[in-house]
């Protein structure tokens, strides 16, 4: 709406109105005029002091709260944080179970006897690098698989990275402690474990993270079998317990996988064909 100049409140009137010295009747007229007139609202805004603004903000906040539905304050205070964590990882009790199972497996397999002709030093070495990979697959199985969540700005790469990070935070201490308890501390498992994990994510946009985890786990188990009698491949054994140049190989694999993830990071956030 535009008014000719005569229709606007006089500067002196606005000044008095903002000071609170205008008569009631005149204030009433100003208030009737303001909602329809952008020019006068702007002029009035220019006259307001710092204190007026903070009072206005407080009043606005008060009104907003007064018009909100009755809410359950404690539930609200913790809702976003807890809800996101639960959505990202699934129920906490599932993870207590997974962590305990992984710990027990690494401990028990650390003490379990191997066939005498096996080239491995411990069963724990065969299983430990699988723990992060299996946990990434688990997070997709017990975390949410909501099509509505998949089309959110955080639902692509960001969710994948948060989940993987959370898995590593759980897996690394679990396996380390399990190895200590199973007298196998010092087995070089972390590098293959991280490389398998990164490999699964790198293949994720093409085949789906769950499927790539399962695929790599099967591949790993095939290598384990190859290191056992009667096959007994030395190369397979050194893949599982990286020694010398093999650990460089695993380091390179990890770097390449991370590079692939970085290069195709956008594919995690584009409409896809997989789900």
């Amino acid at each position: 709406m535009s008014f000719p100049e005569a229709w606007h409140a006089a500067p002196r009137t606005l000044q008095q109105y903002s000071d609170g010295t205008l008569t009631d009747t005149a204030s009433w007229s100003v208030e009737a005029h303001l909602p329809g007139c952008e020019v006068c609202r702007e002029r009035l805004a220019g006259l307001l002091s710092e204190q007026d603004w903070s009072e206005l903000d407080a009043r606005r906040q008060e009104l907003r709260l007064a018009h909100q539905p009755a809410v359950n304050a404690p539930a609200l205070a913790r809702a976003p944080g807890w809800a996101s964590l639960r959505g990202v990882l699934g129920p906490w009790w599932a993870w207590v179970g997974v962590v305990l199972a992984a710990f027990a497996a690494v401990t028990v397999l650390g003490r379990a006897p191997l066939p005498p002709t096996s080239l491995l030093t411990s069963w724990a070495a065969a299983v430990a690098p699988l723990v992060p990979l299996v946990m990434v697959a688990m997070v997709y199985a017990v975390g949410d698989r909501d099509p509505a969540a998949a089309v959110t700005p955080r639902g692509g790469l960001e969710l994948v990275l948060i989940r993987t990070f959370a898995v590593l935070v759980m897996a690394i201490p679990t396996v380390t402690l399990g190895m200590v308890a199973g007298d196998t501390a010092g087995l070089p498992w972390l590098l293959p474990g991280l490389a398998l994990c990164a490999g699964a994510l790198a293949l994720g946009p093409s085949v789906g993270v769950e499927r790539s985890c399962v695929g790599l786990a099967v591949l790993w188990m095939a290598v384990v079998v190859a290191a056992m009698p009667p096959v007994g491949l030395t190369s397979a054994a050194s893949l599982i317990e990286p020694v010398g140049t093999t650990s460089v190989l695993w380091g390179c694999t990890l770097l390449v996988a991370v590079g692939v993830i970085a290069v195709q990071r956008d594919r995690f956030d584009l409409p896809g064909r997989l789900s």
């Binding site: 909100q68 539905p69 996101s84 509505a148 969540a149 998949a150 700005p153 990071r265 594919r267 409409p271």
Partner: protein, 251 residues
């Protein structure tokens, strides 16, 4: 707000969508058609979950070819999938709050936005009930609450009225009309009366094509003087359109 040019999708060997041209602005737009007509595929393409094979898609003026544009679009849309894989252990409030977080809403806005969304679908009284204890109709409304929690400019609803009882359906249509004042709402449904009561215009789909695009009144007019089966004029209009009693009309 939504524009497609020659949009085509092939899943496996089936061509699910053929050369679809859409240009939709604010309002409630119904997508009506029998099972397998391509309604869900269309909604999924527009909701940025399914990649299209041919043609162009623009949502809110952005193409979905690049990740940055797609994320931008995703902050501004709401999507109610046909079925949602929620955590049964979530309460309604937690579920909607989780989706609000995924949609990158500022943390200080989330609590009030969540409660407002739940109030709009009339579920605030059940906000702290676990999802596994809610009925099918209530779950559908929780799904709707997550779709509208970010005040989307484009709202995509796939069979939203499935499982709602008649009274809830009336309230739901009311809500759609309210949102459709300034947002672009697309509702896929096989219920003709949803279209008759909530939609400004309707696209009838059959075998991956839009066979008729008209206003709800025009559809009723088409049914008024037709012999096709149906319990209401608009239902008869729908059958008439499907059977191609008249050449595909354009608005």
């Amino acid at each position: 707000m939504i524009r497609t040019i020659d949009l085509g999708v092939t899943l496996g060997r089936t061509e699910v969508l053929h050369d679809l041209d859409l240009d939709l602005g604010a309002g409630v737009h119904g997508v009506l058609g029998p099972n397998g007509a391509g309604k869900t595929t269309l909604i999924r393409v527009l909701a940025t979950t399914l990649r299209h094979d041919r043609g162009r898609v623009e949502v809110l003026g952005r193409s979905l070819e690049r990740a940055k544009g797609t994320r931008w679009v995703r902050e501004r849309i709401g999507y109610l999938p046909q079925s949602f894989g929620y955590h049964a252990g979530f309460t309604a409030r937690e579920y909607v709050a989780y989706l609000a977080w995924l949609k990158r809403m500022p943390a200080h806005d989330v609590p009030l936005a969540v409660d407002r969304a739940l109030e709009r679908v009339d579920l605030l009284s059940r906000a702290d009930t676990k999802l596994r204890k809610l009925s099918g109709g209530m779950l559908r409304r929780v799904g709707l609450a997550q779709a509208i929690v970010n005040d989307p400019m484009v709202l995509l609803l796939d069979e939203p009225t499935a499982g709602l009882d008649p009274e809830q359906r009336v309230a739901f249509r009311e809500l759609l009309r309210e949102i459709g004042v300034d947002a672009c709402v697309i509702v896929s449904t096989h219920l003709v009366e949803d279209v008759a009561h909530a939609c400004h215009d309707v696209m009838i789909m059959s075998e991956g094509r839009i066979v008729l695009a008209s206003t709800a009144q025009e559809l009723a007019a088409l049914g008024a003087d037709s012999e096709h089966p149906g319990d209401s004029v608009i239902e008869r209009g729908y059958s008439a359109a499907l059977r191609g009693a008249r050449p595909p009309g354009t608005r």
